[in-house]
């Protein structure tokens, strides 16, 4: 019986580990999404001539 109890405890800990890992993944995915919008003006020297790079104010683009 003791062996059965240990087995069950191990199974519980394994389940908790899996669930914990599953919860952590979306947080990383959300952050990734933040920096990769898929429409609009090309950024990061891909066509963005942000004035603040040349002494001017920030323009109205909503992308990084």
């Amino acid at each position: 019986m003791l062996s059965t109890a240990k087995t069950r405890i191990a199974a519980i800990l394994a389940v908790l580990g899996i669930v914990g890992g599953a919860v952590a993944v979306p947080a990383v995915a959300r952050h990734h999404h933040h920096h990769h919008h898929h429409r609009g003006i090309p950024q990061n020297n891909g066509g963005d001539h942000d004035a603040d790079n040349n002494g001017g104010p920030s323009d109205g683009d909503g992308l990084i």
């Binding site: 908790l16 947080a27 933040h34 609009g40 942000d50 004035a51 104010p57 920030s58 109205g60 990084i64």
Partner: protein
């Protein structure tokens, strides 16, 4: 015997079930109702937290939707969804594809006044504008951000919008005050920004405010 020995195990199973349920609910809640998890993004941003601009509708009492004064010129967005007027003496300058920008420069080429219109393209919305814009400027490298005032549900010529006023210093060490508005028109949502150096603000603000008041999208 069996019942006595299995009690701790049963208790652990119950505890595990509660923990699993709590974790599952926590995971679901973070993406519920399609809300943007921007607060989580802030935590992941590389810059220090930026306070949203405080609500102060009185700071936008100058916003009186009307056509541009005689003698002003205007630029239309390449996609045809907005038109931005600018005063005499100002000129269109190099700008991002798909946007329009006009500026007033001094003899040294320094920008003394600035107007830009850009189609909505990121995750900015009228609802979160007071928080989005300062945070976005910080993302682009601006520092010393000082959000001064914000208001929403403001009336424009062709729709409603949200605006804010803030001071900041660019990554190239230039100081500016800006009025930045996001305006939802019938067919498009567009951002218009007016800016000037702090020492020029009193002189340029009336023209910038007039340009924003005449903005069409």
């Amino acid at each position: 015997m069996n019942t006595t020995r299995s009690k701790p195990v049963t208790g652990l199973l119950t505890l595990a079930a509660i923990l699993v349920a709590a974790l599952a609910l926590s995971a679901c809640g973070s993406g519920m109702n399609g809300e943007s998890p921007e607060h989580e993004i802030d935590e992941a941003s590389s810059h220090a937290p930026v306070q949203p601009a405080p609500k102060d509708p009185h700071a936008f009492a100058w916003l009186r939707p009307a056509g541009a004064p005689d003698g002003w010129r205007s630029s239309e967005l390449p996609n045809g969804t907005a038109r931005m007027a600018y005063p005499p003496g100002w000129s269109p300058i190099q700008t991002d594809p798909g946007t329009v920008t006009s500026a007033l420069r001094d003899h040294d080429g320094e920008i003394r006044g600035y107007l830009n219109a850009t189609p909505q393209q990121g995750s900015e919305t009228l609802v979160d504008w007071a928080r989005f814009r300062p945070d976005h400027n910080a993302d682009e490298g601006d520092v010393d951000l000082r959000p001064i005032a914000a208001a929403s549900n403001l009336r424009f010529r062709s729709g409603r919008g949200s605006c804010l006023i803030e001071d900041y210093r660019t990554s190239s060490d230039h100081f500016y005050r800006e009025i930045a508005c996001i305006v939802a028109g019938a067919e498009a949502t567009t951002v218009i920004v007016g800016a000037a150096p702090p020492d020029e603000w009193q002189r340029q603000a009336p023209a910038i405010e007039r340009a924003i008041s005449s903005f069409l999208t």
